[in-house]
């Protein structure tokens, strides 16, 4: 009861302030995970302090204190982020200063500034996250901020919340056509002109080093790694190897990637060619996953000596698409450079002695490298090796421990062991990580590749053939390659999304949602110059340049506002002029030409008396005009017959300029 009473007692300004604070907090909320905790604490304190001041009707903190706190907050941002520039420091600064502004808010103007800060913070959220899921939240918050802005500018008789929301909705609907127009036709510059600078953010997905357990850990996540849309049929599941990072250096436990070499390699594709568009979720690294061997790629990417695609400049910090062509099989005819051969034969000294011995014995027992590979795969297939998501921990000599003791492993265990065995047998070999498989979304017609599809395999160098993919996992668990992780894992293993996939309705909902997301990503987020050009060609404009586009949009906007102005002019057109008024307006124009304009607020008596004083020779006529006009316009039962007399007098009136 008392709380209700209190609410009633809050001043109109206090209520506006409450609205502004809630809008601001909602706008800043999405930033919370990226912000240094102390900035949030400071903001919270500022909000609490401002509310306390309002409720208790106290004075705001003194100016010197506010300046001091703001100064230290600035220093704090500088120390936390080592800069005031960039997205994260910028956001932190925005949040901290919004809190400081709150502490000096006492007028409607201050409230307006806060609402604009809210808008800014809200849109800054798009720099971090452009997911479809975020959109309703952003819209709702923008709506609230706009309604708040409207209420802030109302008088003390504040607008009811529902009315403000309704009016805002109307405004949003009215703004929609313009927004759509700008979205479709506002000139986009090709390239990375507006690219978002990379942020120091934890990368997701595969790393550039691989230790036992890494991939199986990643496989728990059903987050999406990328989506692929093929021009034409997709390759069969067993051919869907999405090559990622190539790892060469082994220290006995962990595989690492040395500095990549950019030696051009002459690759002869021999397999079937596939053209596709791959859309990578941001993973904060600069490698691009591609089907087996990319044969054609855009200028923004480059192929390393490892035959791996990487971006030229920025890590992939936002959703990014690449149009690629790949072949599922290829031959490298040139011999392997010695430097590379040495790297891919190197093994850590004194580690995994039993494995090395096993490899040497096995190699001695067969005639060729191919036969050796077959023998190792047969060993995995026929002996007691198990494929599991929960492999036991391995000792220091991880390969020995895996091959001879635990015998249970995930793909990285098998790939790692195989590569070590091959190197020990004198065959250059390396570990490749990436993704294998993918779920086809029939609703969107594209392939979804998730983190749970993460995979590791080996590549060995065979003279005359070049690098050959060997997937030891296929030997242990062929279902993994053919039908995915679900099929390969026994029922008790916690495969992510298994329940979802096995439930038809849920599975369809999930696929539909993903198709919607993909549409959002492809058609909205990725909408750029290319799509604009395509759109322009569809409506019959060829060779659309930035200049023409700018001109077109300026013209369209001008037309739009002209139409709007005309509509408003019609809507608020003056009411049907009555003849008396028309004559008086004519008189006013005539007098204005003689340098005696009517002031807008001047009544006819005052005005015509003033004119009569300025032009005494006309005083009599003006006096008669005045009395007829006021009689016709303001007095009861006007004699309309006098209108013609008024017209006559006005027409006859000759006013000189001086």
């Amino acid at each position: 009861m008392s709380a209700v009473l209190k609410l009633e007692q809050i001043s109109p300004f206090g209520r506006k302030l409450a609205w502004v604070i809630s809008g601001l907090v909602l706008a800043i909320l999405p930033h919370a995970p990226h912000l240094a905790p102390w900035t949030l604490v400071l903001l919270g304190l500022a909000v609490a302090a401002r509310i306390f001041v309002e409720v208790q009707a106290r004075a705001l903190p003194p100016k010197w204190l506010r300046v001091l706190v703001a100064f230290f907050a600035l220093l704090g941002v500088l120390f936390t982020y080592r800069t005031l520039n960039g997205i994260e420091a910028g956001t932190a600064l925005l949040v901290v200063m919004a809190g400081m502004k709150l502490l000096e808010t006492r007028t409607v103007r201050d409230l307006t500034v806060l609402v604009f800060l809210g808008y800014f913070a809200l849109f800054a959220g798009f720099l971090y996250n452009q997911e479809l899921l975020r959109l309703p939240y952003m819209l709702a918050t923008a709506w609230l901020l706009t309604a708040t802005l409207m209420r802030v500018h109302q008088s003390t008789l504040s607008m009811p919340a529902r009315e403000a929301a309704g009016l805002t909705g109307k405004m949003v609907l009215q703004a929609l056509p313009l927004a759509l127009l700008l979205f479709l036709f506002f000139p986009r510059l090709p390239g990375n002109f507006w690219a978002i600078p990379a942020r120091a953010q934890a990368s997701t997905g595969l790393d550039d080093e691989l230790s036992p357990g890494d991939v199986s850990e990643l496989s728990i996540s059903s987050a999406i790694a990328f989506r692929v849309r093929f021009d034409g049929p997709a390759p069969p599941p067993s051919e869907r190897y999405w090559r990622g990072i190539v790892l060469h250096d082994f220290d006995g436990r962990t595989w690492r990637r040395p500095m990549p070499l950019y030696i051009p390699q002459i690759v002869r594709p021999v397999g079937e060619r596939y053209r596709y568009r791959i859309t990578l979720e941001p993973h904060q690294r600069n490698w691009i996953y591609a089907l087996e061997m990319p044969t054609r790629w855009p200028d923004t990417a480059v192929r390393t000596a490892d035959l791996q695609l990487v971006t030229r400049r920025h890590p992939i910090a936002t959703l990014t698409s690449f149009d690629l062509e790949s072949s599922t099989a290829y031959v490298v005819e040139a011999p392997l450079p010695t430097a590379m051969r040495n790297v891919d034969l190197r093994l850590p000294a004194g580690r995994n002695p039993r494995s090395l011995q096993l490899a040497r014995e096995l190699r001695a027992s067969v005639a060729s490298d191919e036969a050796f590979i077959e023998a190792v795969l047969r060993m995995f297939r026929e002996q007691e090796y198990f494929y599991t998501l929960e492999p036991p921990r391995l000792e220091r000599d991880s390969i020995d421990d895996f091959l001879f003791n635990t015998r249970r492993g995930f793909c990285e265990h098998f790939a790692s062991a195989f590569t070590v065995l091959a190197r020990a047998a004198g065959i250059p070999a390396r570990v490749v990580t990436g993704y294998q498989g993918g779920e086809f979304n029939p609703l969107g017609g594209y392939l979804i590749v998730r983190q749970s599809d993460a995979h590791a395999w080996s590549e060995v160098w065979l003279d005359g053939k070049g690098w050959v993919r060997v997937d030891p996992t296929a030997a242990v668990a062929p279902e993994r390659i053919e039908r995915g992780l679900d099929a390969a894992m026994p029922g008790h293993e916690p495969v992510p999304g298994r329940v979802l996939r096995n439930h038809r309705v849920l599975s369809n909902i999930r696929l539909a949602w993903d198709a919607l997301n993909t549409f959002w990503n492809d058609q909205v987020i990725e909408f750029g110059e290319t799509q604009q050009r395509w759109l322009a060609e569809r409506i019959g404009i060829e060779n659309l340049g930035v200049r023409q586009l700018g001109l077109a949009i300026a013209l369209t906007l001008a037309l739009f506002f002209a139409a709007l102005a005309m509509y408003l002019a019609w809507r608020f057109r003056p009411l049907e002029r009555d003849p008396v008024q028309a004559v008086y307006a004519g008189l006013c124009r005539k007098l204005a030409r003689a340098n005696l304009p009517k002031r807008p607020h001047e009544g006819p008596n005052d005005y015509l008396s003033r004119v009569a004083a300025a032009r005494p020779q006309l005083a009599r006529e003006l006096q008669e005009i005045r009395s007829i006009y006021t009689a016709l316009r303001y007095e009861p039962a006007p004699m309309l017959a006098r209108l013609s007399r008024l017209k006559f007098l006005v027409n006859r009136l000759r006013v000189t300029r001086t």
């Binding site: 008088s155 008024q581 807008p600 009544g603 008596n605 316009r633 303001y634 007095e635």
Partner: protein, 318 residues
């Protein structure tokens, strides 16, 4: 005008009737003709008047002279912080002879009541008067007593020295049709004032120029002054401006709009206009809206007259 109005009115033009009063008041209060006219317009529009000014500019003299000139019974109530509602409206006293309570009417039962320094009284005492003003009657012990007719209250307020005062809240200010200030006379008139007779002696010489009956009849004429659609457009434009402008906390209420129109009609009546002219509205605008509008930025317009001027210049005459 063929409406059944008493001969008294049809025989004499209101301008002539009121002209004599204005002339007489002008002799007492020098150089304040506009304020005197506003005061009379306020009376004829059946409103009440609030004069806000420093002491010694002739507030009391104006009230007294008005009462004398119109032949109205006159009472002055000096408001102090210990004044009680009973001091204003009266008190019931037990009469031994009749064995019943008898109501002794207070000073409010006069035709012209001067409530001097109304803001020095407590809100309770203030509201006793303001209620009487609103209702035109007083209810004591379940018994209702009508007030005199005409009934006109002139309240004064000292804008300075606000310590220990209870400024009237906006809702109470609204009960006053007009608020005016008198201000200093200019030098020449002040000299005349210094050389002339004592004002109190002058008051004693005043003869009634109008009878209370004439005042009452003129009051009935005010709402009949013709208002053209064009003028209503203007009044509505003024009201709309105050509501839509960002310069005021709150716009004018419909009651204020009616007040503005009535005051303009009264003004038109005493100036002999057959219909209300925009200039009539402009003449009363400051006095009517000045205390009803509070500028958001106090520095734009401080006095009621400045507020009136602000509105006046912002709205064009259609």
């Amino acid at each position: 005008m063929d409406s059944p109005v008493p001969t008294l009115i049809t025989q004499a033009d209101p301008v002539d009737l009121i002209g004599g009063t204005i002339a007489q008041l002008n002799r007492v209060i020098l150089g304040k003709e506009h304020q005197i006219r506003l005061c009379l317009a306020c009376l004829l529009a059946r409103g009440h008047l609030l004069i806000e000014d420093i002491p010694g500019v002739g507030k009391t003299t104006l009230a007294h002279a008005l009462a004398e000139s119109l032949g109205l019974s006159y009472q002055r109530i000096q408001f102090t912080s210990d004044i009680l509602p009973a001091d204003i409206i009266g008190v019931s006293v037990f009469d031994r002879e009749t064995n019943a309570f008898r109501f002794h009417k207070g000073p409010v039962f006069s035709q012209l009541v001067l409530a001097d320094e109304i803001n020095r009284a407590t809100p309770k005492a203030q509201s006793a008067l303001l209620e009487a003003m609103e209702e035109h009657q007083v209810t004591v012990d379940g018994q209702t007593y009508p007030l005199a007719a005409p009934f006109f209250v002139i309240a004064t307020q000292n804008p300075m020295y606000q310590i220990g005062t209870y400024p009237l809240p906006e809702s109470q200010l609204d009960r006053f049709l007009m608020r005016i200030a008198l201000g200093y006379p200019d030098a020449a008139l002040e000299r005349q004032l210094l050389m002339g007779k004592d004002r109190r002696d002058l008051l004693a010489t005043l003869a009634p120029t109008l009878s209370p009956q004439q005042v009452l009849l003129m009051q009935t004429m005010v709402p009949q002054v013709y208002v053209s659609p064009a003028l209503l457009d203007y009044v509505q434009a003024i009201v709309r401006f105050t509501r839509e402008s960002a310069q005021f906390e709150v716009g004018l209420s419909p009651r204020a709009a009616i007040a503005l129109l009535r005051a303009a009609q009264a003004w038109a009546l005493i100036h002999g206009h057959a219909g209300v002219l925009p200039e009539d509205v402009q003449a009363v605008l400051g006095a009517v809206v000045g205390h009803r509008l509070r500028p958001k930025d106090e520095s734009i317009a401080k006095s009621p007259a400045e507020v009136g001027q602000l509105v006046l210049e912002a709205v064009s005459v259609p």
